[in-house]
């Protein structure tokens, strides 16, 4: 059971006054983001940790109650900012679930490509940052160069390299262009070689393995009890992956594996992420080869997808449709209902619980943030390990503050 700081102080003040308290964060190089830990140390050994979060709380969910279903994608992009497009896919997956919209096959495929590229870029950064903290700077530079290639893809896809804001209700902002397809192809061709080099750098690196193997073990039962999902649960032997278990979009069409490990330590979490990148690459390759033709948006008569910008500026019908959709209380037909929609984001199950009240603005837009739930496990994981393991555990959990605090 987790003890509060006051309880720890009370209990241990008399019996163990040799314990000392270390404040870690909120501005610390190894937290990468803004979170604070109050560590109780016995020499170098961590007796207890009390996380203190909220240093980046920006009221995302309150904003969700004031922005309409299309506008909110700009906010969800900034939620898990190392895999932005995946959040947009999750948000509009839930919204389309609420409005009962069946998106077109081409749109499904493009969304899958986006989500999987995001997974690769997320894992590259989380493994790279974990390497950086444990002393492997080269790995970080290699990984970041590959991320730049993915940024380039998103830049030609949407116009913004960092926050694409690419999905829309019932469709996408823009279709894939030939340039983008060529860039993705080039990335798919080149990445396996770099991935092999990355694996050679760390997989059997003595220092890295010593610092991560057997550190912070999470058993399968604990993983389920703590509501862990994603790579963290899969490194502990939970085989749950929403892409296989509740196939959303068009994941049922693809041939891919879900990497799992049983040991549940930091190394397993790192290794699961490394293997997942290759599986994601397989999905991207298959999706690109089998990309269906056809429209990316659902039909205009359904009054959900925004019309093409060309149509808005050139034809009166397009202008009218656009205005109808962006005007208050003229746009979407939303039932007065509540719905939950989730996808397998790079970090785990990312879901949105949306309450619609008939208007074009959500009455409540709640996000199930994987980082928040994973960080709650941290005190349990670090107890009994040394101070130098703190950064390895933090890196392996991949805590993103904007998603943690929202």
């Amino acid at each position: 059971m987790t003890l509060t700081l006051s309880e720890i102080n009370e209990q241990r003040a008399q019996q163990s006054d040799y314990l000392w308290t270390l404040n870690f964060g909120p501005q610390h190089p190894a937290t990468h983001t803004t979170l604070r830990l109050v560590l109780q140390l016995d020499g170098e050994r961590v007796v207890d940790a009390t996380p203190d979060i909220g240093y980046l709380h920006s009221g995302f969910e309150k904003l969700g109650e004031h922005l309409d279903y299309n506008q909110y994608v700009t906010i969800t992009d900034r939620m898990n900012y190392i895999s932005p497009a995946a959040n947009g896919v999750a948000w509009h997956h839930a919204v389309e679930n609420l409005m009962d919209i069946e998106i077109t096959p081409r749109c499904q495929y493009i969304r899958v490509i986006c989500a999987e590229l995001c997974r690769i870029s997320d894992h590259l950064l989380s493994c790279g940052a974990m390497g950086l903290d444990t002393g492997a700077f080269t790995f970080f530079l290699y990984a970041f160069y590959q991320r730049e290639l993915i940024y380039d893809i998103f830049e030609s896809l949407s116009g913004q390299r960092f926050h694409p804001g690419y999905t829309r209700v019932g469709g996408l902002f823009h279709d894939l262009t030939d340039v983008t397809i060529e860039k993705i192809r080039a990335f798919v061709r080149g990445f396996p070689k770099v991935h092999g080099e990355l694996e050679k750098l760390l997989n059997r690196n003595r220092i890295y393995v010593d610092r991560t193997k057997g550190v912070a073990v999470l058993t399968k039962e604990e993983a389920i009890n703590f509501s862990a999902t994603g790579p963290i649960a899969r490194a502990s032997g939970v085989t749950r992956d929403l892409r296989k278990d509740e196939p959303y979009l068009c994941y049922a069409d693809f041939d891919f594996q879900v990497p799992c490990m049983k040991t549940g330590d930091c190394y397993a979490r790192y290794y699961v992420r490394m293997r997942e990148m290759l599986e994601s690459l397989k999905i991207v390759e298959q999706a690109l080869e089998n990309l269906p033709a056809g429209p990316i948006n659902v039909g205009e008569d359904e009054r959900t997808a925004l019309p093409d910008k060309h149509a808005v500026y050139q034809s009166i019908e397009g202008t009218i449709t656009h205005f109808e959709l962006v005007m208050n209380n003229r746009g979407f037909e939303v039932p007065q209902e509540e719905v939950y929609g989730a996808i397998e984001s790079p970090n785990g199950e990312l879901g949105f619980y949306i309450v619609g009240d008939g208007s074009d603005v959500a009455y409540r837009a709640h996000c199930r943030p994987p980082s928040f739930i994973h960080f709650a496990i941290f005190p349990h994981l670090i107890r009994g390990h040394t101070l130098s393991d703190v950064v390895a555990v933090l890196g392996s959990l991949n805590i993103i503050a904007a998603e943690l605090d929202r």
């Binding site: 909120p26 501005q27 610390h28 190089p29 990468h32 983001t33 803004t34 909220g54 240093y55 980046l56 709380h57 920006s58 009221g59 309150k62 904003l63 004031h66 700009t74 906010i75 900034r78 900012y81 190392i82 950064l125 970080f140 530079l141 970041f144 160069y145 991320r147 730049e148 940024y151 390299r161 960092f162 926050h163 208050n328 603005v361 503050a401 904007a402 605090d405």
Partner: protein
Amino acid sequence: MSQVDLPDDVVITKLDELASWCRKNSLWPMPFATACCGIELMATGASRHDLARFGAEVFRFSPRQCDLMIVAGRVAMKMLPVMQRIWQQMHEPKWCISMGACASTGGVFDTYAVVQGIDRFIPVDMYIPGCPPRPEQLIQAIMDLQEKIQREGTLDGKEFNTSQRQQTKRALTELPIMGQSTVIR
């Protein structure tokens, strides 16, 4: 007065300019990275953009070793006292870059928890627009800051203490808080 020929390896300059020249070419940034912009800050330091070309790659996480604070990302209510404390721990002369829309104005986050521009609470020398700004923009801002340091820097930091500058800063921080009474729909 007779003209004296200097040897080739001697340069005469003002002491102020010499100090500014030294300072501008060895900026040590303190990355106060909170959110998305922090990743772009990392990208600026990493492989492709390579901030080392401008003498500002020595990221130090201890405020006592730094002279340039780069506030990258939105600053929430809970984080602001931390930021002020870090700013106060830095030694003079020091400069501050507000990177991105959120740090400069609050950006898209006009909510109860986000400070609407850090310049309300600490002095800022350079603002970078963008959400997040591209690494090139950050590099441009650092170059502009270097030019500014060269232009108006003095040996004993007189440029930080002019009354006119204080006044403009005060006017900026005492602007009425916008949108406090209206609810955005």
